[in-house]
């Protein structure tokens, strides 16, 4: 697989529309290799929507995404190889063991050899043969994070990664994020919980919320 890690992932003048509502407009962001971006903002300000736009699941209503200056719309298949996405749901099957789930998602990207290290990184080695239906929500979240780690993708998009995690697992996650960035990866995370992302740029989505713009127009 020829996954050239980009040295810059950016969005230019992005707008996102969900049904009849503009969630945000005029949004720019940029992350360099090894960098991190923290998305903040109140509930409903579009953090999850922005992450789905970045992943390529939603087409931006206006604007475009770029890798190292090249527009992403030209090569969506290449983009899919570059991003790993963690949504609200964990995609852990009740009938599969933790190890099977992580190996499957790593294998579909041709990185099955990364699964064991990822399980160890999220402290799941002892749970590896436990079926998904017996996991607690925090354990499921850890399995989903192990899946992201095992993806081998340079850009991690994490939607509320720390939900349900205990302090020890959060420390483990922070170590994995630091390791990923040290090897040239990027982390983009939306979270309300404090998480150590040294040197991360913070993007407050409330600033791009159309509702505030409307109020400004009215005034």
């Amino acid at each position: 697989m020829t996954t050239m890690p980009p040295n810059r992932f950016a969005g230019v003048d992005l707008a996102c529309r969900r049904s009849e509502r503009l969630v945000f407009t005029g949004l720019d962001f940029a992350v360099e290799a090894g960098g991190a971006l923290l998305l903040t903002g109140p509930n409903g300000s579009g953090k999850s929507s922005l992450l789905r736009v970045m992943a390529g699941l939603i087409k931006p209503y206006i604007g475009r995404l770029e890798h190292s200056g090249a527009s992403l719309a030209d090569d969506p298949a290449h983009h899919r190889e570059l991003v790993a996405y963690l949504g609200h749901q964990d995609a852990i099957k009740p009938m599969l063991t933790v190890a099977e789930s992580v190996r499957f998602w790593a294998g579909i990207r041709g990185h099955e050899h990364l699964a064991e290290a990822a399980l160890a990184a999220m402290d799941l080695t002892a749970l590896r043969d436990l079926a998904g239906r017996f996991l607690s929500s925090g354990q499921r979240r850890r399995a989903a994070l192990a899946r992201v780690i095992a993806s081998g993708a340079p850009i991690w998009l994490l939607d509320e990664p720390t939900v349900g995690l205990d302090t020890r697992s959060i420390a483990g996650l922070e170590a994995s994020l630091a390791g990923h960035r040290a090897s040239g990866g990027m982390v983009i995370a939306a979270t309300h919980a404090p998480i150590a992302l040294p040197g991360a740029t913070t993007l407050d989505l409330a600033a791009f919320d159309v509702r505030f713009a409307d109020e400004a127009d009215a005034a």
């Binding site: 697989m1 992943a55 390529g56 699941l57 939603i58 087409k59 298949a77 899919r80 190889e81 991003v83 790993a84 996405y85 949504g87 609200h88 749901q89 964990d90 995609a91 852990i92 099957k93 009938m95 599969l96 099977e100 499957f104 998602w105 294998g107 579909i108 990207r109 041709g110 899946r147």
Partner: protein, 221 residues
């Protein structure tokens, strides 16, 4: 391509672990077919005339039974998001999932159908044609069903909607399959009917993945 095979194996393993997923459609197929002689009486000539139609109608309903799980579970637990983001195109994902659906519904139906044929006194000359029509027709049922399941994904009470959407599309398959079987029973060549079924199969495999993948992308937006 290896990724598609990987996904096919994964889907198959999931369905094998859910024992009921595997047993329910085929048990439905057998039981519903058994109800017919109980309802219309055991008169051999009558049963022989009904056999092909009964087997095909119940086979068609049995595949329908398993359709709602094709994408629904993956949609609800977020796995479909990840499949859309996997390096393999969503069209190949659809083919892999349809193949897994067929192996767990169409294939068992093909295995059981001759036994039910004997029970319904199906004409001896028709058995080969019955199997051929099922071999060509049930994959098309899975494909059309996958399209329906993708379109109704995320709709409330999608199951009923799915049946209403998909059953009319099954009609041509039913017509050509049963006329192939009756042609064989009357000593005529079933070839033209089977060739038409084959054309549906080929057309489906070319068009359905694109239509279903487009519907899935729309559902994920």
């Amino acid at each position: 391509m290896t990724a598609a095979f990987h996904l096919f194996r994964h889907d198959l393993r999931l369905q094998l672990r859910h024992g009921t997923d595997l047993v329910a459609p085929i048990a439905f197929f057998v039981l519903a077919t058994l109800l017919v002689p109980l309802g219309v009486g055991p008169e051999p000539n009558l049963l022989a005339r009904l056999a092909s139609g009964v087997i095909w109608v119940t086979a068609l309903l049995a595949t329908l039974l398993a359709l709602d799980r094709l994408f629904q579970r993956d949609f609800e637990d977020g796995a479909l998001d990840l499949m859309a983001l996997a390096p393999l195109p969503l069209e190949l994902t659809v083919i892999a999932k349809v193949a897994a659906h067929w192996v767990t519904t169409g294939l068992p139906v093909m295995v059981v159908a001759p036994i039910l044929g004997v029970m319904l006194r199906l004409d001896t000359n028709s058995f080969l044609t019955l199997e051929l029509s099922l071999a060509l027709g049930t994959p098309v049922l899975s494909m059309i069903g996958a399209f329906g399941a993708a379109v109704t994904l995320g709709a409330r009470r999608g199951g009923a909607l799915l049946a209403v959407l998909v059953l009319p599309l099954y009609i041509p398959i039913l017509i050509f399959a049963t006329s192939a079987i009756s042609a064989a029973g009357e000593g005529l060549s079933p070839r033209p009917h089977l060739l038409l079924l084959a054309s549906f199969f080929v057309g489906g495999i070319v068009l359905i993945p694109f239509a279903a993948a487009a519907a899935l992308r729309n559902a994920l937006e």
